[in-house]
Amino acid sequence: MKAAMSIKRVLSCSLVLVAVVGSATASEKLVIEAGRIITVQGPEIADGVIVIEDGRITAIGPASEVEKPWDAPVLGGPEFTAFPGFIEANTTRGLDRANESVDVAPFLDVRDSLDPINFFFEDCKRWGITTISVQQGSDCVIGGRGRVVKPHGDTVEEMTVRPSFGLVLSASPKRGKSRATQSQALRQAFTDLREHLEQLVQEKRDGNDRARREALYQGRDLEGERGKGRAMTATAWKVDGLELVPRGQVDEKQEPLLDLVEGRVAAFFHCSQPMDVHRALEIARDNGFLARTTLILEPACWKAADVIAEAGVPVVLTGDLTHTEREPLTGEELETFVPTVYRDAGVRFALSSENSSTQSLWYQAALAVGGGVSRQTALEAVTRVPAEILGLGDRVGALAEGMDGNVVILTGDPLSSTTWVDTVVLEGEAVYRRDEDVRNRHLLEGIAQPGTQPAAGSSDVAAEAEPESEAAMAEPDEASGEETGPDSGEEASNEEEEDTEQ
């Protein structure tokens, strides 16, 4: 009897042990083996091992030199390549809508608009993107606060890597505005801030209690740090006497701009034309946040590369990496490969995935190599440079001891067209496995139509439903199959072509 019970106990203990070993939670250990480890910041490691403990890389090196904890599950294998998780420096995807209609809305926060089950995040895992900076779009004068997230989690909080990160400004005009009115609106926003702060200071000097009453009425927090005043620490312009004003009494619509001017907030400044670059840099300089500015550029801005280099700010490249213009006198097209222009000018650039899983970050990096950028620069443009832009340079963007355990296990070279993401490890947890990705199978092979191929039971019913949601998740400008691309576009552009020969 006693022996039987002890056997039972041993059995149940071992069951528990197996259960413990079988799962890979953040507090556990994980070992990744790979025939090739691309660290990005250092030399490649052949037949290497990465050890992740408590979400961080504790050891990385050749298998012969790294001790693997005996109780850690092992992922990967000699046929795989390990790579840091790709990093998306700026995207509006994952939000329900990119912008508000209000011109100046720095008080908004994408936290309230981010949808954890948006198809985009699933797609990010599929293509190995592990850190994403979700920001508002460029259809604004000044937009709201963004957030750095990882593509895994049931709530926004679970997904968050850096809350309240980034503020969006746009030098390229908001819809309905001209560049003149856009520039004016930008300048006015900072003038309004200044006037607001001066008013607050004056009121305090006059013994006017209005600001405090208003803060209380709005239910703002006036405790602790929020109840204290602080002198303005801006570099470009200052309002004297701000220490008289408790920070909590600054209007919540203005406060994010105050943070911006004091250099505490990263700024993402959108430019679509070279002239916008001048405007953006001027506004950033005049208001003291140039050091925290990253430009989000459309292809034509390559013409302002020297100006950007002089300002020393990094950039994120969006759109087609080849800029095309038509020569007005001959009608011929001139093509410029944009990344090489920035490389030659000495500007640090990050790439961004275009609205397509077929054109994700690996693809952009591959295109960059094709265009003449070195492999190392191209890989850094999708890892280290965006990591630095997001202020996470010491945590993500490379594989090294101390960095977050964000590893993508690939079936081949990251820039090869036949390579798949096999597994995604996020902070030491395997959050994506290709062999479990039902939707990827559908993208690859399609869904069996009932009657044409043997049905696989209820999973097909669910599978049939999925394409609809995919179509719904498609970008607004790419309606499900109707009038896609070539023909509708060509009619317009062909008719345009008639006009040039006048």
């Binding site: 007005p328 006198l329 020969e501």
Partner: protein
């Protein structure tokens, strides 16, 4: 009455009667001595004389003797023939095409010509004495063009050209043909069994005018004319410099313009290329709704771009008359041609100069207002 009063009255009466007689068409005889005369064929004469009688030029040149007592006008500026525009829709708003059908083969623009329309007086004020009225670019076959004198005195040619269009305004979505292939098929069908105007065109008795915009339309028009051995000119052809060889080989001429300040420099360069290649060209008149000089602005833009001045003048006068098919009557200052001429205060290619007096068939039709 005192004798000197009578004399004064008599002289005044004589002068007035002479002037009055001079106003009567076809009866007058007078001489014009001008510091400079452009003959309209590229040649010019300094200190020349033009002799007009019965509305017809009798002689012109340096050595023309002026008998004493003959009425002589002294002009210290430039004398040129009247300007000839080779395509226009002056006075025709809405009448030069038909929205319901694309084929108006037997249509004649002469049937829509209203000599009293103010467009013509307006054009005349700027020196355009003769113009071709052309069916619109929006008809695949627009019908016959007509050449008129802008003073309303005469129709020079009721059926001067058969006008067709190879261009997209003629290809409308709600009537046949809707596309280039259909338009070409329509034209080929006409030439397969030509009747009426098409028979005339095929026989070489009626030249064609072909509206064409972008280069491929121009290439198509040239190929069509060459294939069927048709003569005539292109209208438009903005960037024809890309098809210069085939254009030259075809023997077609080109009616260019009107040009505005926004016109592409390439288009103006094409006119320069045409002149350099020796391809005959002339200018179209600006739409009457635009209150500017209908022709000279286009010419000035080309000259500024590098068009040779004598080529420009030829395109305004003699060359234009050849393209319009009325060179037997107008275009150059030559014995036997109509006395259509303009007295300018400066060179007509210079936009700051303007006509002091304009004569059509020897009759003063407008005079500079002071």
């Amino acid at each position: 009455m005192k004798p000197w009063n009578t004399l004064a009255l008599a002289l005044a009466a004589t002068f007035l009667s002479e002037v009055a007689e001079g106003q009567k068409a076809g009866v007058d005889e007078f001489y014009v001595r001008s510091a400079r005369i452009y003959l309209g064929d590229g040649r010019e004469v300094e200190d020349g004389v033009l002799y007009v009688r019965d509305g017809v030029i009798q002689s012109v040149g340096r050595g023309v003797a002026v008998p004493s007592g003959k009425r002589t006008l002294q002009h210290d500026g430039v004398l040129t023939p009247g300007i000839i525009s080779c395509a226009s829709n002056l006075g025709l708003a809405g009448e030069s095409g038909d929205s319901a059908r694309a084929d108006l083969s037997e249509g004649r623009l002469a049937d829509a010509y209203q000599p009293s329309h103010t467009d013509y007086a307006h054009a005349l004020e700027f020196g355009v004495t003769t113009t071709v009225l052309t069916p619109s670019i929006s008809s695949v076959v627009g019908g016959s063009a007509v050449v008129v004198k802008t003073d309303g005195s005469e129709v020079l040619d009721r059926d001067s050209h058969l006008v067709v269009s190879f261009s997209t305004p003629a290809l409308q979505a709600d009537r046949a043909p809707t596309g280039y292939a259909g338009a070409l098929a329509l034209l080929e069908e006409h030439l397969a069994s030509p009747t009426g105007v098409w028979a005339e065109a095929e026989a070489g008795r009626l030249p064609l005018m072909m509206h064409a915009g972008p280069r491929h339309e121009v290439a198509r028009a040239i190929a069509f004319a060459t294939q069927h051995g048709l003569q005539g000119s292109l209208i438009g052809a903005a960037w024809a410099d890309d098809v210069l060889e085939s254009l030259r080989a075809s023997g077609l001429s080109v009616v260019v313009g009107p040009f505005r300040t926004g016109t592409s420099p390439r288009t103006l360069d094409t006119v320069v290329s045409l002149a350099e290649a020796g391809i005959p060209f002339a200018f179209a008149a600006e739409d009457s709704r635009v209150p500017t000089d209908p022709v000279r602005f286009s010419v000035a833009l080309c000259v500024r771009r590098g068009l040779d001045e004598s080529a420009a003048r030829k395109a305004l006068f003699g060359g234009a008359a050849l393209i319009a098919g009325v060179a037997d009557r107008v275009g150059t200052l030559e014995r036997g041609k109509d006395a259509d001429f303009i007295l300018w205060d400066g060179d007509p290619l210079d936009l700051t100069s303007s006509p002091r007096a304009i004569y059509v068939k020897g009759r003063l039709v407008t005079q500079e207002k002071h």
